[in-house]
């Protein structure tokens, strides 16, 4: 199964990249996605998570073709 992972704003800057691709064999959670793409660091507090542009919790299970996003608190308006 393949997913796209995206990063935005300060998180993107701190990581030094705006996306990753990830292949995995069995269904995993959003928290496990982070562990795979960013094994060297814990997910920052307050990080928001979305799958296919909907907010989800870290426990949400990811499926083939999903777009997973990690980003800091939003500051629009």
């Amino acid at each position: 199964m393949a997913i796209k992972v995206r990063y935005f704003a300060s998180l993107k800057e701190n990581l030094g990249r705006d996306k990753d691709s990830l292949d995995f064999e069995k269904s995993i959670s959003v928290a496990e996605v982070w562990e795979q793409v960013m094994p060297e660091q814990a997910i920052p507090d307050n990080t928001l998570t979305a799958v296919n542009m909907e907010y989800v919790t870290l426990a949400h299970q990811v499926h083939d073709g999903d777009e997973v996003a990690f980003f800091p608190p939003v500051t629009g308006g």
């Binding site: 995206r6 935005f8 704003a9 300060s10 800057e13 928001l48 979305a50 542009m53 909907e54 907010y55 996003a69 980003f71 800091p72 608190p73 939003v74 500051t75 629009g76 308006g77």
Partner: protein, 146 residues
Amino acid sequence: MIKIVSSGFDPFQEVHAYQQQQQSLAGKYGATNLFIGTMRDLNEGDSVKGMTLEHYPGMTEKQLARVVAKAGKQWDFLDSLVVHRVGDVFPDDVLVLVAIWSVRRGAAFDASRFIMEALKSQVPFWKKEILVDDNSRWVEKNTDGY
């Protein structure tokens, strides 16, 4: 209607034009509330000379549509217009416009304020400020507007 724009816009022209175009509104609305968010030249005590507004294309529109739909379930309004700027902005530039048309004034005030609060806490936009010394910093958190 929901619009994400990457260049400057005049909120009064936007509302006027939209209102003219929605001919079914004529004579039916008694109340219009507009909220306009504008870039200031000062934030948290520091002079700010510019800002970059980043967003998550696609999710932004989806979440904005959800916010407007939620407002529509709670209050009875006839129409709404939300315009949000992205990209590079400067002091005095308009960042966001929310306009609500309703029969009675309570719904217009309530829905407009609800949409602004929800937008600021739920819709994926991020502000990065450029200070006068050319240092830049991400705005970390929006304050509560109530």
